[in-house]
């Protein structure tokens, strides 16, 4: 492939200082990027530079450092706007992460638009962060949470989606990519179907952003959320994209500094645009770090990343399928580079502990997707999730360590 020539994974690995670490004396095989990704040096430098050269609080200061800090912070917002192709920076709200972003929408949009009997439509693929906020708001408003089922391969049943979408549905909230089993959900189709019935859609892009280019206007998403730490940025930062026309109608979520127009004890009026939803001192340096992370992946290019990851995914799938008594869970036609599996008679926690000794980092557990685990009738799985810095050696190390587990429990 043409792109592959310009994509050198060994060079990319050098951008990530963590790969110099030894784990129990072994090479680090990091297959847990689905939980959180490692950080390239450019991100770490952006963070440190922001603190050492231009640090001050943003927005309210006329002095030099405050001005520079504000420029960098707002510059990161513009970077993210451009990356997602949002129309205006007013539509880019910085949050603590995906979880806060969804809670903000559930709370602000939800409280304003949900009545008893209304329905919130989710799917069986959702992360707890895209379930629990809706349950909390449903409880408060008398609305009901419904979930679109999946088939055994882990694909959303689109005919079920169509029939569950009704005049009672007030919002659809689905993941773009399943964190537990990798399914890529046809969100464009979902948005079109929902819009045909006048229903707004929130897309949880936490697992999509590291793997693909997302264009919120091409998707026509009403809300699109993601979390910084999974996309090679710092912890403590996330993004809510929301259409301006919705933001204008939505009441504030949290109250505090920076989101007000005028405060008196009798009456307070609120700012407009993203400011209305960014109460208090924002995660300034984390936003700047996230901007650097987005620049970094754009520098590599998503065609390159996707080609590399899909090649790894198919190699890993072939290798793991060939093992005795190992079952891959989730075999959707469109998948991101995530392989979830279980082993006959051996518990994921034991697998995780044993292969960790070989330096292999995978996630074992329910991946914050218990309804999906219930669907497959397993308490937990082993999940290997890949990112742009993984290579074939990582797959080989994983496979070797699984064989060791089998040996151990023979």
């Amino acid at each position: 492939m043409n792109e592959m020539t310009s994509f050198d994974v060994e060079k990319i690995r050098k951008d990530f200082p963590i790969f110099e670490e030894k784990i129990h004396g072994k090479r680090l095989t990091f297959l847990d990027s689905g939980a959180s990704a490692q950080k390239p040096t450019v991100v770490l430098d952006a963070v440190r530079d922001a603190y050492t050269h231009t640090y001050a609080n943003v927005h309210r200061g006329v002095h030099y450092l405050s001005q520079k800090s504000t420029e960098l912070y707002e510059g990161a917002r513009e970077t993210i706007r451009a990356h997602m192709n949002a129309e205006s920076v007013d539509e880019i709200i910085f949050t603590k992460g995906t979880t806060e972003a969804i809670n903000l929408v559930a709370h602000s949009f939800g409280l304003m638009s949900l009545k008893p009997g209304d329905e919130i439509l989710l799917s069986y693929l959702e992360h707890h962060s895209n379930i629990v906020p809706w349950q909390l708001i449903a409880e408060r408003t008398g609305a009901t949470v419904k979930a679109v089922p999946i088939n055994n391969d882990g694909e959303l049943l689109m005919d079920q989606f169509t029939s569950m979408l009704s005049e009672k549905t007030k919002i659809v909230a689905v993941t773009h990519v399943s964190n537990a089993i990798g399914t890529v959900v046809p969100v464009k189709e979902i948005i079109d179907l929902a819009h045909a019935k006048g229903v707004p859609v929130l897309i949880d892009g936490s697992q999509a952003m590291p793997h693909m280019k997302v264009d919120v206007r091409a998707l026509d998403a009403d809300f699109y959320v993601f979390t910084g730490h999974k996309v090679f940025g710092p912890t403590g930062i996330g993004v809510l994209y929301a259409k301006n026309e919705l933001l204008e109608k939505m009441p504030p979520y949290q109250g505090g500094g920076d989101m007000i127009n005028r405060v008196t004890f009798e009456k307070t009026t609120f700012a407009t645009g993203h400011s209305k939803f960014e109460a208090g001192t924002p995660p300034i340096v984390q936003a700047i770090g996230l901007g650097a992370a987005i620049d970094y992946i754009n520098g590599i290019g998503f065609e390159n990343i996707a080609a590399h990851e899909q090649a790894l995914l198919s190699y890993a799938t072939t290798q793991i399928s060939a093992l005795n008594n190992v079952k891959i869970i989730g075999q959707a036609k469109h998948k991101a580079a995530i392989v979830s599996f279980s082993m006959n008679g051996i518990h994921p926690h034991d697998i995780g502990t044993i292969i960790d000794q070989a330096g292999v980092a995978v996630r074992v557990g329910h991946h914050c997707a218990q309804p999906l685990m219930d669907f497959y009738d397993v308490p937990s799985t082993v999940r290997a999730s890949f990112a742009l810095y993984n290579n074939r050696d990582d797959v080989d190390a994983l496979v070797a360590s699984i064989k060791m587990v089998q040996e151990f429990f023979r």
Binding site: V62, S66, E71, N261, R262, A271, T272, G273, S275
Partner: protein, 151 residues
Amino acid sequence: MLDDLKELYQEVILDHSKHPRNFGKITPCSHQGHGYNPLCGDTINVYLELDEHECVSNITFDGKGCAISTASASMMTDVIKGKKMNDANTLFENFRKLATGECEEIDAGEDTERLMVLAGVKQFPMRVKCATLPWHAMHTALIGETEISTE
């Protein structure tokens, strides 16, 4: 270091800020606009009278502001007085572009020079809002809204 400052606080600006022209209220008046800057708590009210030809026959302002916003209001009222409503709105647009750095130069005829004086503010991004606040208030008065707040 004083060069940029001297550019911002030119004599004419200091003069307008210390001795603002057209300061006061017109009551009753046909148009009124209120500007509020939540960053500093400053407020500017602009009062306007249009005659039967949609010409600004009188314009005044009052409120609390810094030297920049006061001078800007003072110079603005001088410039706008006697202008047609449409021309006033065009001047607003031109000045906004100049102050935010969107344009380097504008052609506003005889008013160009006075507007350029205020444009020194673009070297001070945090102060741009101070300069544009009265203009926004004037604009909202003309288009019939009553309150704006810049941010």
